[in-house]
Subunit: 359 residues, 2 copies
């Protein structure tokens, strides 16, 4: 999948308004033929995949601990096909699950994908979705080894299960952080959420005026973070190379605050997070100004960043300091101290979870 340019995004915004030529209906095709069609690209490459698609279950051998995670994505709740092209959706659905595997310090190895689709979808549309799924498999080196394909009453529902091989030193849990451990985050925060705001605004304008030509050039990074997020497989490799074993780790799907509070709760510690240390992309900062919203608030609660948040021992500081992929944003304290944000003005404010509400 090419990187999204502004022209591409314009096309995306426009494509759903176009009348499509008549295409292959799923009823015509039947379930088994559809599965064959969608999975013919699913060759297996991982040594741990003993048998892939085509039996009652897949057979794996991880030679040690296996990690497994699953997520459900519902049209109209988690994605809007009005500004999420199907190929990107397939890619993203895989990536968000792999992110959970990397958050265990594990190597992602296999996925299973189930889809339920209403008859408004054609074979070609579902093939687009699977093109994204296969691309994600290729990009991250995981095998598609199973799943289910069925009809839905309304819309598209996706369920992805990801499996991985835990490191020999054991999976990294949320519960291992200790008082004085450093709190570290990969990449930058908030951009995916702002990308969604930009797309939603353009979509509204487009509805009113289909001839409107949005200029998305100033928003390319934000929109790409929303439409084509990546999971931080590289960070797991980087930490291994640096010989740093995180004491606790989680991925950031619901916003930084919410994830910090999960770490604190599971590890029974407190935390000090420093506002001025939170990594923000310059484009994110300038668009927050344009939208007249507070960048820290969005970085804390925006969600969908899929960065890794982890704690390391103080003595590991020298190994990670100055790494452009990692920011030390605070440190853990005792449970009694609670979880706090230290603002640029040196105010100390209790951290609150303002994560994305599913209901």
């Amino acid at each position: 999948m090419e990187v999204l340019c502004a022209r591409k995004i314009r096309y995306i915004c426009a494509m759903l308004e176009e009348k499509k030529p008549s295409k292959t209906s799923l009823e015509e095709l039947g379930e088994f033929a559809l599965i064959d069609q969608l999975t013919k690209a699913a060759t297996t490459a991982m040594p741990s995949t003993v048998h892939g698609i085509g039996d009652d279950a897949a057979v794996l051998n991880h030679d040690g601990e296996t990690v497994v995670s699953t997520d459900m994505l519902i049209e109209g709740v988690h994605f809007d096909l009005g500004y999420m092209p199907l190929k990107h959706l397939g890619y993203k659905a895989v990536v968000v699950n792999l992110s959970d595997i990397y958050a265990m310090g594990a190597q992602a190895t296999q996925i299973l994908v189930s889809i339920a689709v209403s008859n408004r979808f054609t074979l070609e549309a579902i093939e687009e979705l699977y093109a994204g799924i296969h691309l994600a498999c290729k990009t991250y080196g995981v095998d598609l080894v199973g799943g289910d394909t069925t009809s839905s009453k309304q819309g598209l529902q996706l369920s992805v299960t990801a499996l991985g091989k835990a490191p020999k030193t054991g999976a990294v849990l949320r519960s291992g952080a200790n008082d004085n451990d450093l709190l570290v985050v990969s990449g930058d925060l908030g951009a995916a959420y702002m990308g969604l705001q930009v797309l939603a605004r353009e979509n509204e304008v487009f509805k009113v005026n289909p001839n409107h030509k949005p200029d998305l050039e100033p928003y390319t990074y934000l929109v790409e973070r929303q439409l084509k997020p990546e999971a931080r497989k590289d960070i797991v490799g980087l930490l291994e190379a640096l010989e740093v074993i995180p004491t606790a780790m989680i991925d950031i799907s619901d916003g930084l605050s919410s994830e910090i509070l999960h770490l604190c709760q599971k590890s029974e510690v407190g935390c000090r997070l420093y506002e001025d240390k939170i990594p923000l992309d310059p484009q994110f900062i300038s668009v927050c100004e344009e939208f007249n919203v507070d960048s820290t608030t969005l970085a804390l609660s925006g969600g969908e960043d899929y960065e890794l948040l982890f704690t390391v021992k103080q003595e590991d500081f020298d190994k990670i300091k100055g790494n452009p992929n990692l920011s030390v944003i605070g440190h853990m304290t005792t449970k009694g101290d609670g979880a706090h944000l230290v603002t640029r003005g040196d105010e100390v404010i209790p951290l609150k979870a303002q994560g994305w509400k599913a209901f």
Copy 2:
């Protein structure tokens, strides 16, 4: 869950028409509180469960090969809450997935359950669903180790992933059957499908006349096969005890014909199935007469039996003959011979898949 008696089924048919007292809405509760509420009963017991619910992923250790399978169940497509109580749905959703694990000759060990629910469901309704899920876990000795909980735009969608530990001799695939192997099935066939027909008929009558008191006594077995199917964990144990290693195995979810054809295709063999050997329950036979439908046709294409269909070497015949749980229903032939049904009148008819159509 108690065995369904006729009175119970009457209650089931009636309960959905009742006005329920106002109950806890999911919006009030929020996602994290809902997850806590639903999973507090999910204690882990399997030695292979290293960490269960509560992290980015579950951690397992199967000390050898792992098998994994997943299924999606959509309201209005796979189940109708008009005659499927939520507790039974939860139980069945787990059972149909475990059936896939047993069909690999494996021991089911863990499940992950994702649900998407619209706001028409109350907390109490979802707790009923999970009561069935937890009961199935207890009955089959598997741990609930993860999942996802989210809202849907419409109705209830469930996705269950099941994991298991393959036998030391390797997972039993669909592809291992050879010419001359015996074809064996557990239990009896067609009853679950007829149970659904009975429930659908009663539901129609009930809609027209809510005071109608259906007499479901003559249909108890059929209705129970539909509403509370069981997976044949016992057969995996039985074969082990008999020292029989099936050459190929599949579970019967889409009807006997369809599954035989899968075995033939994957194993590159043909088959002769003998009509007079297909095991049918007396209640099934008599209700087929009442509904004026052909019992063989329904046994071949009915679906949802969740029995195990497998092949064994000729020399294993003595080990299985006369076992009340197992019926030898035919034998495999060369691929060139094709797959055929030999009728009671000695006619030889090509087998056709008339499995349940998802689209």
